[in-house]
């Protein structure tokens, strides 16, 4: 097929856009070039979008302009206003928007094509998968957003036969999809697929607890990319296919990394209903022995920190909730002034999305060379004088290493219990998201400093100035 001039221009622009996307992502491999990488990727996307306006099939422009202005304004205002601490839910929401778009585009294209001739075979497969995956990603992301925004409880939500019911919904989607591929469907079939997939997305994410959010967010990211790629297959639009697959690859890699960091499979995250089993097991373990925790004060902690040579700070979701990132930077600076070696130990699943702690600490201007990954820092705890655990819980629980009965047994953790002193900043003795008792809190070397993380950190800085 020979393209005319206009189609040629579009085709070449799409190729350029694909190259820009790949180079943009390539530049994300270093913090120094990442920002220009994002710009390159944006240039690629906007080039593709602008050139699409030349497409001959577009006949009405005013609706397009109106939709883009409304959507674009909402997007830009939200992106500028959102607090850095609200980043997990923002990422979740943006993800859902893309999934919803992909589902609607697949569905619409099917409706349009089937007016001319029945859509069967490979095209129908792409339509079904684009619609179903996009819809699951849309409602799944919206539920994840609602949980992170605390519009819904972050506790797992369950009902009897939940897994069987979700399995049934999946079967319905596959069966109806099959009728669309081989023929025998009716006009309402694609709508039912759309509706059932929307329900499935919400039901899949509802039973997942807050601590599993990094895996969920990464998975939804991958799903949206894959849905976009299927949409590209339906439209025979290669730039959409390339962009969608790049996103899908990225989301899949992140999902695998997060799963590995929790020692859990994807199936276990989505169907394990982690919180429920964990509460039972944790409760049983806690009932066995009477255990005591040792409390400490800001003043005593400040003295311990001031005379330490090496301090490691372990941030967790609690630090983000308390918005204590600036206070923790002040503390680190105060200690460095005294010649103390301060490092931050970052667990891959600390927080609610991949890399959450890095963004949080970067916002407070903490240089990224002070942030050390789990594998690099674990050998150093033996020689660390004081570990300050701020709002982290499960990622420092030695039960993951020692207690085969623990629900998190086998999960790689930060070995903070090997340090000479451990000080845990915590709101109260309440357990983490999964209700797992933390063996660290009862160790001889552990002291608890109760209170809001930000307030505790601020009083530590004050106390440190007087030491």
């Amino acid at each position: 097929m020979i393209l005319d001039t206009r189609a040629n221009i579009i085709a070449v622009a799409y190729i350029v856009a694909a190259v820009l996307l790949i180079f943009g992502l390539r530049k994300l491999s270093s913090p120094a070039t990442a920002r220009s990488g994002n710009m390159l990727a944006a240039a690629g996307v906007f080039l593709a979008l602008a050139i699409t306006l030349l497409d001959r099939s577009i006949v009405t422009y005013w609706e397009l302009a109106l939709g883009i202005v409304i959507g674009g304004a909402i997007g830009i205002v939200a992106a500028r206003k959102v607090q850095m601490t609200a980043m997990p839910q923002m990422v979740g929401l943006l993800n859902g928007l893309g999934g919803g778009t992909a589902a609607l585009v697949s569905l619409s294209e099917y409706l349009r094509l089937s007016m001319a001739a029945p859509v069967r075979g490979g095209e129908a497969v792409s339509v079904v998968l684009g619609t179903a995956i996009g819809s699951v990603s849309f409602t799944g992301s919206v539920v994840a957003f609602a949980k992170l925004q605390e519009l819904l409880s972050s506790k797992p939500f369950q009902f009897p036969l939940q897994r069987a019911f979700n399995g049934l919904l999946l079967l319905v989607i596959l069966a109806l999809g099959a009728t669309m591929v081989v023929g025998g469907d009716t006009a309402t079939t694609p709508w039912i697929v759309f509706a059932v997939a929307l329900a499935l997305g919400a039901l899949l994410v509802l039973p997942i607890g807050g601590g599993d959010m990094p895996v969920v967010i990464a998975t939804l990211n991958a799903l949206t990319g894959i849905a976009a790629a299927f949409t590209g297959l339906v439209l025979h639009n290669q730039i959409l296919v390339v962009a969608g697959i790049l996103v899908g690859a990225s989301g899949t890699l992140l999902t695998l990394l997060m799963g590995k960091a929790m020692n859990r499979s994807l199936g276990n995250v989505f169907f394990g209903a982690f919180g429920a089993t964990a509460t039972a097991a944790g409760g049983a373990a806690a009932g066995g022995v009477a255990k005591t925790v040792r409390q400490t004060s800001a003043e005593d902690t400040a003295i311990a920190l001031a005379y330490a040579r090496k301090v490691v700070i372990v941030p967790g979701y609690g630090l983000a909730v308390a918005e204590g990132q600036h206070a923790v930077r002040e503390l680190a600076q105060e200690l460095e002034k005294r010649g103390v070696d301060v490092k931050f130990a970052i667990h891959p699943v600390a927080g609610r999305m991949p890399g959450h702690m890095n963004v949080l600490l970067a916002e407070a201007n903490i240089p990224y060379d002070e942030l050390v990954e789990m594998d690099q820092i674990n050998g150093d705890f033996d020689s660390t004088d004081v570990v300050l655990v701020v709002g982290a819980n499960d990622v420092v629980n030695p039960a993951a290493r020692e207690d085969p009965a623990s629900p998190i047994y086998g999960m790689p953790i930060l070995d903070v219990d090997k340090a000479r002193n451990v000080i845990v900043l915590k709101r109260s003795m309440g357990t983490g998201f999964a209700g797992i008792d933390n063996a660290l809190f009862y160790r001889d070397r552990t002291r608890m400093l109760f209170g809001d993380a930000k307030k505790s950190l601020t009083s530590l800085v004050e106390a440190l100035k007087t030491v």
């Binding site: 577009i58 997007g75 943006l94 992909a102 619409s108 439209l235 639009n237 890699l253 991949p354």
Partner: protein, 98 residues
């Protein structure tokens, strides 16, 4: 299957390997910006929404297409702006700290 679909499947396969090679170089400190940037990139489905709405000839397609364009536009504009805000915090050199 149409010939175009077959060619698209080749594109998929090549893109999977390219994606894997490029993304696996991204360090873990940049995982959130990576996710946010890829979030913005999949906003390119706005392109599909534009094609649907621009060619819509039934009321249903007008409605579906319009919703898709609004969602897609919010995704792509919001995504790149929020990623840029995030990366602005990372670009600071350690020495530049006050």
């Amino acid at each position: 299957m149409t010939r175009e679909l077959v060619l698209s499947i080749y594109v998929v396969i090549l893109a999977v390997f390219t994606g894997y090679e490029v993304i696996s170089r991204v360090p873990s400190i940049l995982h959130t910006p990576l996710m946010s940037a890829t979030n913005a990139i999949h906003g390119i489905v706005l392109l599909g929404a534009m094609l649907v709405l621009g060619a819509a000839d039934t009321p249903v397609l007008h409605v579906l297409g319009f919703i898709a364009v609004v969602l897609g536009a919010a995704n792509v504009f919001g995504g790149f702006v929020v990623t840029d805000r995030m990366l602005e915090m990372f670009k600071k050199k350690p020495e530049a700290r006050k």
